[in-house]
Amino acid sequence: MGSVQWITILLASLFFIQVIYYSTRNQLRDKQAFLWFSLSIIGLLIAFGLKPLNRFAAMLGIAYMPTLIFAIAFLVILNVLMYQSIILSHHEEKIKTLIQQMALMKHEWQHNERKGEKHERK
């Protein structure tokens, strides 16, 4: 293994440890934790399998293998961002519904309270 591969493995391992660390501290949860766990595993696999990747790139007619990795990584990151935006939109919608529900319930509660006060006065 060359020094480039050692550095790649080191970086991929650090990323993997980072994901495990956040998952164990509950800062990454459920689907999000799984998503980043999967990506970190893919990172490790790429780091260990640079030779097969080189062959694969050559098969595709790509002379410089990192170009292939960057292209794939770019697409993966775009999709992850899209996924995060979808989740954000869902959360926005849920928060909006909760805020509206709160306002409607507060109004109902105040209305009933006023009715109760009137009833007591009678």
Binding site: K96, Q100, A103, L104
Partner: protein
């Protein structure tokens, strides 16, 4: 019949708007205080005006949808949007009400351009409105002369639709595209609109650019899918 008045930082106008409404029409109303940072909430409390308090600012769409949800939960057959800044003349309410009841349409929009009115908007604003007219005509096949007018009345079918889903910001044009796509019937009647009675418009030049682009994109999406 429920009049929904979305209000965000309208301390200068909200009192007169509600008093005018109470003077001119017998319908129920609800002010939706959209997380105002000024004295709007205090004024509503002090005068005992019927209102809902959103704890944070949701934007005009979120506030309006709260009103529609209220209308749905309380069994109203019609809901009218009335701006809190005094631009909408409550004297025109009856025109909107009569039109929707007699015509059987799902939404009736109060328009400044369907007939000649005293409205004098800036050239830029008029061009923007004209652009949306053509956009709606080309995308949905509906002829609406004043698609940005917020002065509108809807029936219970549309109240149900809006209570379920309503755009958060700049909803006027997008909801027309959405309703047209779903086959709801929309028409316009002439109304007069006043200049803002106080407060400041939230639309800045930069926001106008975002507004035009965002509304074009969402309206096309709604019209196509």
């Amino acid at each position: 019949m429920l009049v929904i008045i979305p209000a965000y930082n309208e301390e200068a106008t909200i009192r007169n708007t509600v008093l005018n409404l109470q003077r001119t029409c017998p319908y129920d109303y609800i002010v939706v205080n959209d997380g105002s940072a000024d004295r709007t909430g205090d004024i509503l409390d002090e005068h005992g005006f019927h209102h809902l308090d959103l704890p944070v600012n949701l934007g005009i769409g979120g506030a309006m949808q709260t009103g529609y949800r209220y209308a749905l939960e309380h069994g109203y057959d019609y809901a009218i949007q009335l701006d809190a800044d005094g631009q909408h003349d409550p004297n025109d309410l009856e025109t909107l009400v009569t039109e929707i009841m007699q015509s059987g349409y799902d939404m009736v929009i109060g328009s400044r351009f369907v007939e000649k009115t005293n409205y004098e908007g800036s050239l830029f604003r008029r061009l923007g409105i004209l652009y949306f007219c053509y956009l709606l005509y080309l995308a949905c096949g509906v002829k609406i002369t004043d698609p940005t007018s917020g002065y509108r009345i809807v029936n219970r079918r549309v109240i149900r639709e809006f209570a379920r889903d309503y755009p958060i910001d700049y909803p006027e044009v997008e909801v027309i595209a959405r309703l047209a796509k779903k086959g709801y019937k929309i028409k316009e009647v002439k109304v007069e609109m006043n200049a803002r009675q106080g407060g400041r418009s939230s639309i800045t030049p930069l926001k106008s650019l975002y507004y035009m682009t965002k509304v074009t994109f969402t309206s096309l999406i709604r019209a196509m899918f």
